[in-house]
Symmetry: C2
Subunit: 384 residues, 2 copies
């Protein structure tokens, strides 16, 4: 397919480097996409995102639909202008938010009734409407409305949700194809979401159905990293990437810890998003090459070294652990910004290391090197 190119695949695993073309520029994979839930990556400006090297960000149809509302975004000619983001934007369809945030969710064959988590007002999403909403948002990569189930799920419940998710994906594709033709040269991309909980048979069925009956521009793997074991997560991802054609990107939804991303890339996933780097930052937790740590911990009060001596981000080039520890204790807003910048750049650097490793044919060695240092708890970092 024209919009996607596999540049190189690792000889010993499914890890690969690829290039995805969108209407707002290229996405080089493996890639971590910062999350802009409400049309902003929390506490991080566009200038900082650019300095971090961010290409694609993720945002949520559910949230933007409720606030500021699609009429506002349309007035601006789309979310890109509204939030001043010039690169690609991927929108989640809202299936997960309806499941996790709404107090009331009633699913019919036609769509899902839910109430707003903001004011309790009633709303109704259908696969077609959600495609239309994403067109009004103007995102570059759009996703099909899906049905999420709790973890752990019974096989029957997961099967029922998958049956709806499959039907909705087909409807989404039909509606998208008609609308996308109208958008002409700036044609957006559609990703289908593969569900199936922790059941290999359902995951395989979902992947094959998506590839054969829906035929989207990319595959999103949903419903993982929601509390299942790592073993289950890896098994499900492996079943899916084995079943899928290799000519399209695989997006692992909601994965954000560096150790998990290394594993998932090895198993064939290309794209990732998660609130982890920015949410942990607001709790004073930094991701570093030597593991995670909390800046509030006592040893850092006098520590003149940067968060991560190996990092090239704005925060590490200008500020010390002691300063960030002080900001945490003094409840200063600047901490959110500085650690968010670091955590996002840290994940960006991890994906750059992965790309280089795949290119050089030493992915396994670099992964082991990452793990050795990350789990060492070495230096004067305290294990948390």
């Amino acid at each position: 397919m024209k919009h996607f190119e596999v540049i190189k695949t690792d000889a010993a695993s499914r890890a690969r480097i690829c290039r995805l073309e969108t209407a707002h520029g290229a996405v080089h994979t493996p890639v971590f996409m910062p999350v802009a839930t409400q049309g902003t990556v929390k506490a991080v400006s566009q200038a900082d995102l650019k300095a971090i090297g961010t290409e694609c960000i993720l945002t949520n149809t559910y949230h933007l639909y409720l606030r500021p509302g699609l009429a506002v975004l349309e007035k601006f000619g789309g979310l890109h202008n509204f939030m001043a983001h010039q690169g690609p934007i991927l929108t989640d369809s809202g299936g997960y938010q309806v499941y996790s945030l709404s107090k009331l969710r009633k699913i019919t064959d036609n769509g899902v009734h839910f109430t707003s988590h903001i004011d309790g007002s009633p709303h109704f999403f259908t696969p077609e409407r959600v495609i239309d909403y994403q067109a009004r948002i103007g995102s570059d990569i759009r996703t099909c409305l899906d049905v999420c189930v709790e973890n752990p799920a019974e096989h029957a419940a997961a099967r029922d949700a998958l049956t709806k998710t499959k039907a909705w994906a087909e409807r989404s594709k039909r509606h998208f194809a008609a609308a996308a033709r109208r958008e002409g040269a700036k044609r957006p991309l559609l990703f289908g979401i593969i569900q199936g909980a922790t059941f290999p048979d359902l995951r395989r069925e979902a992947a094959l159905h998506m590839a054969e009956k829906v035929d989207p521009d990319g595959f999103a793997v949903g419903g993982l990293s929601v509390g299942e074991t790592k073993k289950q997560m890896h098994e499900m991802l492996s079943v899916v990437t084995e079943a899928l054609p290799k000519d399209r990107p695989v997006y692992f939804m909601g994965l954000g810890s560096p150790e998990d991303i290394w594993e998932a890339v090895e198993l064939g996933a290309d794209m990732f998003d998660c609130v982890l780097p920015t949410r942990n930052a607001r709790n004073g937790q930094a991701l570093t090459s030597r593991g995670r740590f909390y800046v509030k911990n006592a040893p850092y009060k006098m520590d003149e070294t940067p968060l991560d001596p190996d990092c090239d981000c704005y925060t590490c080039k200008n500020y010390s652990r002691a300063y960030l520890s002080h900001l945490f204790k003094a409840r200063e807003l600047l901490m959110n910004q500085l650690i968010s910048i670091h955590n996002l750049r840290f994940l960006m650097n991890q994906t750059l290391i992965m790309r280089e490793a795949i290119k050089n044919g030493d992915f396994q060695a670099r992964k082991k090197e990452f793990q050795r240092l990350y789990f060492s708890g070495g230096g004067n970092f305290k294990k948390n």
Copy 2:
């Protein structure tokens, strides 16, 4: 005096442009100094401060002494390194914070006993200790410990506070002179604080005493902008600037609204600081050439124009009122950063306009022009 040069004084008023030299670079006046109470300008990074054009910032001896503590700053070789600020830093002596933040304040001839607003622990400041603390902070411009009184104050109470403030200023200067000699070529500057509440006789006495008996490197005017009328404020400032020699800078403590700064510059003040631009930003209030307004107000929900169409700041060049309104309603942290940047740049631009006006000999005309637009409530801005 070598460290200070009056470049030009307005023919029709006391407004003037000057240059103050410090160990960390020059300060061009009129100047507004962003406040970094706890060693950070709230929600604004050093990169953003630099882009705003900030030369000098203000921080508080009282706050830094309590947290992170002077031992931490000394480990870093001073506050500049700790907070990554390369320009000049002015420290307030703590007299005002002891008055306004501590639940317990007991003043003796020797100094002031108070309890920490953080943990209630007891502390004792003397004029000499506060000079030493500021040396450990490493600030470029230091101030004498003073005694603040409530507003309105009785003449007897204001007289008593002034008597102590005068004696403490003399002690501060003696102690500072001895210590400053040790700092050699990087000699810091000492500013004396002029008190006297709203009594012209006390203000005049305080100014003459400061100039003749203390002879500091600059004059700070304290105890104003604390609830007195504008008329009183202007009268007190005028009494002070009339009594003072013209060869040193005049720093009006705690003034931050643009309309007040225009008046105070006309009356001979050169330097200003206030939490207003950053505090108001966190409440969603923007300072603009057309007046103040709250971004949450309904008309801005769909407004594509920047906060201030005349502004050249990062926020105004990239984001709309509608976006900032959305951030406010969605309680997004990025709002604090973006409006703080704008408000600080707005005040910076006001001082640049003032300098240009004084240079061109049309200060009165430019002041009237500012007032006409600022108080017009025009455009689609709502009066608040």
